[in-house]
């Protein structure tokens, strides 16, 4: 009875990590028993629901237990009115709002977003906090106790091992390699080649193989890949390493699912690229894409991962509903750092540091997430792209020369092409957030961006915007297609079940099927509530997608409609560096 200590409290403030990490375990059953038998009140933050959205939208088979745990918790507590949602999102806000709940204890896990945030932000925090781990359960009394006595994560010593694997083993099309679980795979066709390696299709239609060039596999990289594979992330839109690959006993690469489409950077690249790739898009599609991206990054954050190198070329887009994060082997996992980053997307406070030499914090990623939000909303534009500005982008970033203002007083420095209208037509809260970040150096947690963009999307999908211009990718501009549409647009759209999660503003969001009584759903389907079991969802094929099977949040990945276009690129670094390296040797070596 490991959780007995919790019986001492009248109320528990429960973090979502308990649902995702402990759901399905005996520990979670015990937790529910205690909560019910002691008739405890449970408090959760607004992120509890938002993070659950992120999890179910990943359609990752390993989250079935989390879905059930959420259903069990809601099923037991809602009828008794024992589950209370505190309408706060930001960590310090939430901590402040719950500080006065008597006889209460926070319940979370060691690497949860919440735990990391309070350790980073160091708010005034005197409550008890129970950290549930696989091996031990500890109660700490306030933040100081937590800082002093919880084991600290230090950077892996492998990060500073300056060695690389050198074996005269090369594999290519036709070769049969062995996976970590001893399965044979044959490389069938080379899909792309980049700075670090090549991607091949294999005789397993679901998997491609990334094979590294010589000199790329370091102890840090291999140990990170080993850890990543063991985590078993199987989101449909995250090209996560599935298994290691060996050739003649030597580590050579890993398998993953194949991403489809073009990099975000080549679609979100100004009006011509937008119109030519997705001529029928509206702002709904922009916000759908952005929500999808934010959900994926939040999902990674929940796994103690910092993406590190967020930028528009590290995701592929096939359609508004089909997005893939790629180049995942660089992310920071646990104590193993992300060695790369760009000046354009990395928080300037980190510039000049050796990225391999320290562990990034969640707070470090906030800036990159804000950059992502701006870039997507502005169709690829950089927030510091400025007319009549400084000599270098670097100076603009350092001096925070954000050319937009809240009164729309001056548009002199906004790049030409209609970006001033994009700004004007954004919801006020998003404009404020962007202004605070890029002008005043403020930061927002990823989940706050998710909340804001989700609300924007819902305002659009529920046709709340009065001015039709607000739906246009470039409001008040007349841009038209200049080339033939990309095939991506013709693909059957995945049913947009995500838009059915209405009722975000409904205070009684945990009431199962009654969630949207007061808000009109965007489609005639009965609103099922986010937490109802699969068999009760009653999702039919929407008329817009004759080929797509029903997709519920609980559907297995294989139920997703498969797009059929030729894969374009999965390595995302198709810069020809392989040739470059070889050539440089020949000429100058």
């Amino acid at each position: 009875m490991a959780l007995e200590a919790l019986r001492n409290y009248k109320s528990l403030i429960v973090d979502y990590s308990i649902i995702r990490e402990a759901g399905g375990t005996a520990l979670f059953s015990e937790f529910l028993d205690i909560v019910v038998s002691c008739s405890m009140d449970i408090y959760v933050s607004k992120s509890f629901k938002l993070l659950h959205y992120c999890v179910i939208h990943q359609a990752d088979t390993k989250n079935a237990a989390a879905s059930n745990a959420m259903k069990d918790l809601c099923g037991l507590l809602l009828p008794e009115r024992k589950l209370h949602s505190v309408q706060c999102l930001e960590t310090n806000d939430f901590v402040r709002s719950t500080a006065d709940i008597p006889d209460s204890c926070f319940v979370t896990t060691a690497n949860s977003i919440f735990t990391k945030r309070i350790l980073e932000k160091r708010p005034e925090f005197h409550n008890d906090i129970c950290i549930i781990g696989a091996k031990s359960i500890n109660v700490y009394h306030g933040l100081n106790d937590l800082i002093l006595n919880m084991p600290q994560v230090r950077i892996s010593p492998l990060a500073s091992v300056n060695k690389y694997l050198d074996a005269s083993v090369f594999c290519n099309v036709g070769d049969t390699v062995l996976t970590g679980d001893q399965r044979k795979l044959t490389l069938t066709k080379r899909v792309s080649s980049g700075a670090e390696g090549m991607v091949f299709t294999t005789d397993d239609p679901k998997l491609v193989a990334k094979i590294y060039h010589k000199g790329v596999i370091t102890p840090l990289r291999w140990s990170k890949l080993t850890k990543m594979v063991s985590m078993g992330i199987k989101s449909v839109g995250i090209c996560w390493p599935r298994d290691l690959i060996f050739y003649r006993g030597v580590p050579v690469g890993y398998t993953m699912i194949l991403g489809k489409g073009k990099t975000l950077g080549n679609v979100f690249d100004g009006p011509d690229a937008m119109m030519n790739n997705f001529p029928k898009w509206t702002r709904v599609d922009i916000t759908t894409t952005l929500c999808d991206l934010l959900e994926k990054y939040l999902y990674l954050h929940m796994h103690n991962i910092i993406a590190g190198d967020i930028q528009l070329k590290n995701a592929l887009i096939f359609s508004a509903n089909s997005l893939y994060l790629i180049d995942m082997d660089s992310v920071q996992v646990d104590d193993m750092p992300c060695p790369v980053g760009t000046e354009e997307f990395t928080d300037p406070r980190l510039w000049g540091q050796n990225f391999s030499g320290f562990l990034r914090k969640l707070g470090d990623e906030d800036y990159s997430i804000a950059m992502l939000v701006f870039s997507i909303l502005f169709c690829g534009l950089h927030p510091y792209a400025t007319r009549l500005g400084k000599e270098t982008l670097r100076e603009e970033i350092v001096e925070k020369n954000f050319p937009y203002d809240l009164q729309n007083a001056s548009e002199e420095h906004i790049p030409k092409g209609g970006y001033n209208y994009i700004w004007q037509y954004l919801p006020e809260n998003i404009r404020n957030m962007l202004y605070n970040v890029f002008k005043n150096g403020a930061s927002y947690e990823a989940v706050e961006w998710y909340d804001a963009v989700l609300s924007y999307k819902e305002a659009l999908t529920s046709r709340n915007m009065e001015d039709e211009e607000a739906y246009k990718i470039f409001p008040k501009m007349e841009y038209h297609q200049t080339a033939e549409a990309a095939p991506a647009e013709e693909a059957p759209a995945r049913p947009m079940f995500k838009t059915r999660f209405q009722g975000l503003n409904d205070p009684n969001i945990y009431s199962g099927g009654l969630g949207d009584q007061n808000s009109r759903p965007v489609n005639p389907h009965k609103y099922p509530g986010p937490f109802v079991p699969k068999e009760d969802t009653g999702f039919d094929n929407p008329p817009t997608s004759p080929f797509a099977p029903p997709v519920s949040p609980f559907a297995a990945p294989s139920e997703r409609p498969q797009a059929t276009a030729e894969p374009e690129d999965n390595s995302g670094d198709d810069s020809g560096n392989g040739v470059f390296k070889k050539f440089k040797k020949g000429l100058f070596g």
């Binding site: 010593p157 060695k163 979100f268 500005g389 560096n577």
Partner: protein, 240 residues
């Protein structure tokens, strides 16, 4: 040059631009095979830039030749689908300095254009390819001016210089002075043009798609960092 400013020459891509100005020797000694190789190398270079989604709208190219006179063969923003104008060699003059000064003017005007439009850019590249030494009226004086201008810009990280000598008749002492960062000019034979342009193409692509730093362009080192280890030793690190 600013009077020729036209917004349509800049496209509406949001990508950060890399302006590259080629400054090419078309003096008499380049006649025949060298100029053929040069044309082929250039058009392959442009083709590979256009074939790659990452570089197509990010790389911005102008071409200047210096032979009997300095000519702007292709200004920025004017790459045509039908390909490049053919470059031919003719006389015995080699006004390198004048060519470089014109190139710097073009690059500067282009940067002003970016600023006017609100387009982000990388610091420009100047690619000088010559097979000889400055020749003609005021050639040395102009070359000295060009060297001084290049050195100042390069020191302030406002220009990346590729000073490339072809064959054995190059005045490497003068060519070397063009760059304060590159230890020695890049030396090739005209038979190497294919590889040379391949190198320039992949370097530019590394800058625009992988954010490679300008310093790396001066330090051509292909060996992986760190020390190589065999498989057995490799796994020992993981166990520790």
């Amino acid at each position: 040059m600013a009077d020729n400013f036209s917004a349509s020459d800049f496209g509406n891509s949001t990508k950060r631009r890399l302006p590259i100005c080629f400054c090419l020797d078309t003096s008499g000694s380049m006649m025949g095979d060298p100029i053929r190789q040069l044309n082929m190398g250039l058009s392959n270079f442009i083709a590979s830039i256009k074939a790659n989604d990452d570089t197509r709208s990010a790389t911005d190219i102008a071409i200047i030749t210096f032979g009997s006179s300095v000519e702007i063969v292709m200004p920025f923003g004017k790459i045509k689908d039908e390909g490049l104008p053919e470059i031919s060699a003719s006389t015995t003059m080699t006004p390198i300095g004048e060519g470089i000064l014109t190139a710097l003017e073009l690059l500067n005007a282009r940067k002003e254009g970016y600023k006017e439009m609100g387009i982000k850019y990388y610091q420009p590249w100047l690619v000088v390819i010559t097979d000889g030494a400055p020749q003609g009226p005021n050639a040395m004086a102009n070359m000295r001016l060009a060297i001084q201008a290049c050195n100042e810009l390069e020191k302030d990280d406002k220009l990346v210089i590729f000073n490339i000598g072809v064959g054995n008749s190059v005045d490497f002492d003068i060519l070397k002075q063009l760059s304060v960062k590159r230890e020695e000019p890049i030396s090739v034979t005209s038979g190497d043009f294919g590889k040379l342009f391949e190198f320039l193409g992949s370097s530019s692509s590394s800058v625009v798609s992988s954010g490679m730093s300008d310093d790396a362009l001066y330090n051509i080192n292909t060996e992986p960092e760190g020390e190589s280890v065999e498989v057995d030793d490799f796994f020992k690190y993981m166990e520790e």
